[in-house]
């Protein structure tokens, strides 16, 4: 398990390197640059109607009455549907991905501002919106629960009185690690540092919002649903369970998706409304939410209120980490995570360090806010885990007066310790952390930066250097303990080689911009020697792809990528047998030369994979027992997650007069094992780093005391533009995953996970002259200004 600096194959035209890994330009791009993508809102069907949703203006209220008569009489309106009408069909509530239930349309009361109350179906979108204005709802407003810290107070209003016997706002408790052993280590430690940290509620806000086109055919009973889903197969199964339509009569089509970022994993009420509307009207129905609806009602991210504690020796040996978490889950527990992991993979909060003990205790509560929690490239709560450990390690460095880079280097898990079992039970597959860290420091010119900082401090200028070193856990997951509502987290793959040697590969995962149509062709090409341009990648259509759990948690490469490599090897094994017949030698006498089999010792005798494909489909005998055709399919059950890692260094400058933070440099060194396409990885990293700048400096879904959402449009929910981000500096090391067929680990979420603590660490470092040890995100100018004046306050 050595870390090497890989030679990068760079080529500008795809035909320069027809096979395998390297910087291949994307097969997706030609349609997108011509405006020929096929997104859900581009779908137009004959007779298609449009659906718009009426939403609650208040956070918590009993519904006394709904009068739809004026809306029904409005021009162009075909149907107006309320929760009471859905309840008659048993469809007013639906299951969430966390075994809770969520109202499709509110029946008894509303539980968050923006909740779905009724919908209108009309001939066009404008008419549907007009009619929404004419629906009269009478509310009896109740006190809302806004602050999660007060949700469990005895007099707190009970939000979930729909659940039988529910008398409080408790959602769940969870713990991991060894409480007693951790307490013992803390009791004998030289140094104990504790710090309260808030990871505020943010939102993935993909540029394309959520939407669907439902087309139910009453004659053959088949439902076709185009929708913005990252997990089309899982959605199909859930629709079958909820709506009672059999699975073989449901076709979910996830076409081009304009970014997902975890926002498009859950099933939203709008999808169900569109299906109901199509069944009711007998016409195709389109629902496309607007930005405000997306921000106010669909899956949020984070919202963890954490206390971090770290125990160490005086010379900087980290002994134990302990944390207590209060998780705000909103009004319904809609967290998208494997069933046995209600806090996702937060258990990796011990990070990249070899410690003696760890313990986490968590309580999750209901509040009058939209459901969600797991989204926005969090890898199932690893954003929160990495933020916790990387902030508390910096607090320790501050306490010890140690350089934060030195403290990390001193405590890294060493390469010979892998596979390494953490004190919370996670088995890290591989890692060589020090070279990654050293490379980042070298790229940054770390020693020079520290000198520059000293000089600037002497002049009263505010410059900060922040480090984050993270270990990710991606590729859920082994079916023995990971499932989504009973569906094991495996992925299928099917490869079919046509007679002329062209191929089609069908995936169960669903790209939302990550370049699967390119990189999966590269995996197949590497394994079977067919040029990637001759391989079509099909995904997102449940009628035409094998079953699997979709794309989130950076799981495509670890799970589906493994499936692709193995299905190609299966086809290659068959090709070898056919080749032995064609060359009239035994299988053992053949050697593979990426694209052809040749006879050992006689390289003049060979057949290409294209020759073999034609033979497999053509006339003439095949070796005994071999069926015609050249195809295979598999379902891959991963044995473990993959654990990519990275070293990030951020340099910020803060204007002492305005408290404006400028991210001047950002150095990101990632190690995701074998690199399939360096160009695509670089793009994934860039995007995640911009997420980090957004979360650290600008983004937050806030609420006032009445439960009004204060971040429900792009006027207030600020996302970085090209002016707020620097030109990123990226590097890499390569430590393959030993259990993965091609040694590749996931990477898509690494930068979103790793960058926020690096930026916050840099800002806190810059504010050292003011005695600041911590300040919570988002570090807007006003919040930095407050911190400089000793008034750093949590954002919620």
């Amino acid at each position: 398990m050595t870390t090497v600096h890989e030679r990068v194959d760079t080529f500008h035209d795809n035909d320069q390197k027809p096979v395998g890994y390297g910087r291949m330009l994307r097969k997706e791009d030609p349609r997108f640059v011509r405006g020929r993508g096929r997104f859900v809102d581009d779908v137009r069907l004959p007779g298609m109607l449009h659906l718009a949703i009426l939403r609650s203006p208040v956070a918590h209220a009993r519904i006394l009455s709904i009068d739809t008569s004026a809306a029904e009489a409005s021009p162009g309106v075909k149907a107006v549907v309320t929760g009471a009408m859905l309840a008659e069909q048993g469809l007013a509530w639906m299951p969430t991905l966390s075994n809770d239930v969520q109202a499709v349309l509110a029946t008894d009361k509303v539980r968050f501002q923006g909740q779905e109350v009724a919908f209108v179906v009309a001939e066009d979108g404008y008419a549907a919106r007009d009619a929404l204005e004419l629906i009269d709802v009478e509310y009896d407003v109740l006190d809302p629960v806004v602050d999660a810290r007060r949700a469990l107070e005895p007099d707190a209003p009970v939000i979930r009185d729909d659940l039988e016997g529910k008398t409080d706002n408790h959602c769940f408790d969870w713990e991991t690690g060894d409480e007693a052993a951790t307490a013992a280590v803390f009791a004998r430690a030289d140094v104990v540092v504790s710090q309260d940290l808030v990871y505020p509620r943010v939102h993935p806000a993909p540029m394309e919002t959520c939407g669907a086109v439902a087309d139910f055919d009453p004659v053959d009973g088949k439902l076709r649903l185009w929708s913005t889903t990252q997990a089309p197969h899982a959605h199909r199964t859930l629709y079958a369970l909820v709506a009672g339509i059999p699975e073989h009569k449901i076709q979910v089509i996830s076409p081009d998706i304009g970014g997902g970022f975890g926002n498009k994993v859950p099933i939203y009420p709008g999808y169900v409304c569109a299906i109901v509307a199509s069944i009711v009207t007998g016409k195709p129905v389109k629902w496309m939410e607007d930005r405000s609806e997306n921000l106010i009602s669909t899956g949020f991210a984070r919202d963890y209120i954490m206390r971090g504690e770290i125990a160490a020796t005086r010379d900087g040996r980290i002994l134990a980490i302990r944390t207590n978490v209060l998780a705000d889950h909103g009004a319904f527990n809609g967290t998208a995570a494997p069933v046995k992991y209600p806090a996702g993979f937060f258990g990796v909060f011990t990070g990249s360090y070899d410690i003696e003990a760890a313990y986490c205790k968590m309580t999750a509560v209901f509040t009058n806010k939209a459901p969600g929690g797991v989204a926005y490239a969090c890898s199932f709560r690893i954003t929160e885990a990495v933020y916790l450990v990387e902030r508390i390690v910096d607090c320790l460095a501050d306490e010890l007066g140690m350089d934060p880079a030195e403290l990390r280097l001193k405590n890294f898990i060493r390469p010979e310790q892998f596979p390494y079992t953490t004190k919370t039970g996670w088995v890290y597959d591989s890692g060589d952390y020090e070279p990654t860290m050293r490379l980042a420091m070298e790229m940054a010119g770390y020693a020079d930066l520290r000198r520059e900082q000293q000089e600037k401090r002497a002049r009263g200028e505010l410059m900060g250097i922040g480090i984050a070193f993270f270990t990710e856990a991606v590729g859920a997951g082994p079916r023995k303990n990971m499932d989504i509502l009973g569906l094991g987290m495996a992925d299928g793959c099917e490869l079919r080689v046509h007679p002329t040697g062209k191929a089609v590969v069908r995936l169960s995962v669903q790209s939302q911009g990550q370049g699967h149509e390119t990189t999966f062709a590269q995996i197949i090409a590497e394994e079977i020697g067919i040029p990637p341009d001759d391989i079509d990648v099909v995904h997102g259509d449940t009628d035409n792809t094998p079953f699997g759990l979709g794309t989130y948690g950076s799981r495509s490469t670890p799970v589906s990528g493994a499936a692709a490599a193995l299905v190609a090897r299966k086809v290659r094994d068959k090709a070898r047998i056919i080749a032995s017949g064609m060359l009239e030698v035994s299988v053992a006498d053949l050697e593979w030369d990426k694209g052809s089999f040749r006879v050992k010792g006689d390289p003049g005798k060979s057949v290409t994979i294209q020759d073999i494909a034609m033979r497999a489909h053509g006339a003439g005998d095949l070796p005994e027992g071999v069926e015609g055709g050249l195809e295979a399919q598999i379902c891959y059950n991963p044995s473990n997650l993959t654990y990519p890692h990275g070293a990030y260094i951020c340099v910020v400058d803060i204007d002492p007069g305005t408290a404006q933070v400028k991210v001047r440099r950002f150095i990101a060194v990632d190690d995701c094992g074998t690199r399939i396409n360096p160009m695509i990885i670089e793009g994934q990293v860039h995007g995640g780093l911009a997420d980090g700048v957004g979360m650290a400096l600008m983004e937050m879904i806030a609420f006032d005391e009445d439960g009004n959402c204060l971040g429900a449009s792009l006027m207030d929910y600020l996302i970085p533009t090209a002016l707020e981000v620097p030109d990123w500096e990226t590097g890499f090391t390569v430590t393959p995953s030993p259990h993965h067929p091609i040694g590749a680990k996931g990477v898509g979420e690494s930068a979103t996970v790793g960058s926020p603590p690096a930026i916050v660490n840099a800002i806190v470092d810059a504010l050292e002259p003011f005695g600041v040890r911590h300040a919570d995100m988002p570090l807007t100018p006003s919040r930095v200004w407050d911190a400089m004046r000793g008034n750093a306050r949590p954002p919620i």
Binding site: H5, V8, T10, H12, R23, L25, R26, E28, D29, F32, V33, R34, G35, G37, F39, D41, D124, G125, Y126, A205, P206, M207, E208, T209, D256, I257, G258, G259, D290, R291, S292, L439, E442, M443, G513, Q514, G515, V669, M679, I681, G683, Q684, V685, H686, G687, G688, L689, A690, S713, L714, M715, I719, T721, A722, V725, D727, W728, T730, G731, F732
Partner: protein, 182 residues
């Protein structure tokens, strides 16, 4: 009401409601779905098209206001089968991922290059600052626009000097394959 405008060099006349937004006219009436809609507050710029050669957010223009004017959308960016250098640049420099912001970004970039054929990185960032991309982190978009600028400058030089054209690819990505500095 009736509106007549020129869209991608073709004159179109349609009966519309006065309140119809230009973005919906292009997408829903004309079927030009390359132009997207990503927000409701005029911030995101996924709907950028040209009105008489200038980039505008078509979600913030009434279709009626475009009457008598020339509109150009992403579908009218290529010259026949030949892609505009901006389109080529986005492909060469990985300036797009999900592709949702791409049409608007490219329309703004083309307009920038039309008035400033050699923009600096800062000028490019300023030009696209009314537009949001969630996938790329912007750096490769900046490189894509620079690629187009350099490519066009080289092509122009090749025409005027009738000497051998320098390889645009040599400047591609500013020599930036994602690699270590080691």
């Amino acid at each position: 009401m009736q509106v007549t405008m020129t869209v991608n060099d073709v004159e179109v006349t349609r009966e519309i409601e006065g309140r119809l937004l230009l973005v919906h006219f292009l997408r829903d009436v004309l079927g030009l779905t390359g132009t997207h809609s990503g927000c409701d507050t005029s911030n995101c710029g996924t709907c950028v098209v040209w009105l008489d050669g200038e980039p505008v957010k078509s979600c913030t223009v009434l279709a009626a206001m475009a009457g008598g004017h020339e509109v150009r959308t992403v579908e009218g960016l290529a010259k026949g089968a030949e892609l505009d250098p901006v389109q080529q640049g986005f492909m060469q420099c990985h300036g797009l991922q999900c592709g949702f912001c791409t049409p608007g970004m490219m329309m703004t970039a083309r307009a920038l290059l039309n008035r400033n054929p050699d923009p600096s990185e800062e000028e490019i960032r300023e030009a696209i600052s009314g537009q949001i991309c969630r996938c790329t982190g912007y750096a490769t978009i900046v490189r894509s626009v620079r690629w187009a600028a350099v490519h066009e400058a080289n092509a122009a030089a090749a025409v005027t000097e009738t000497t051998e054209s320098p390889e645009a690819g040599e400047i591609d990505n500013a020599g930036q394959p994602a690699g270590s500095v080691a």
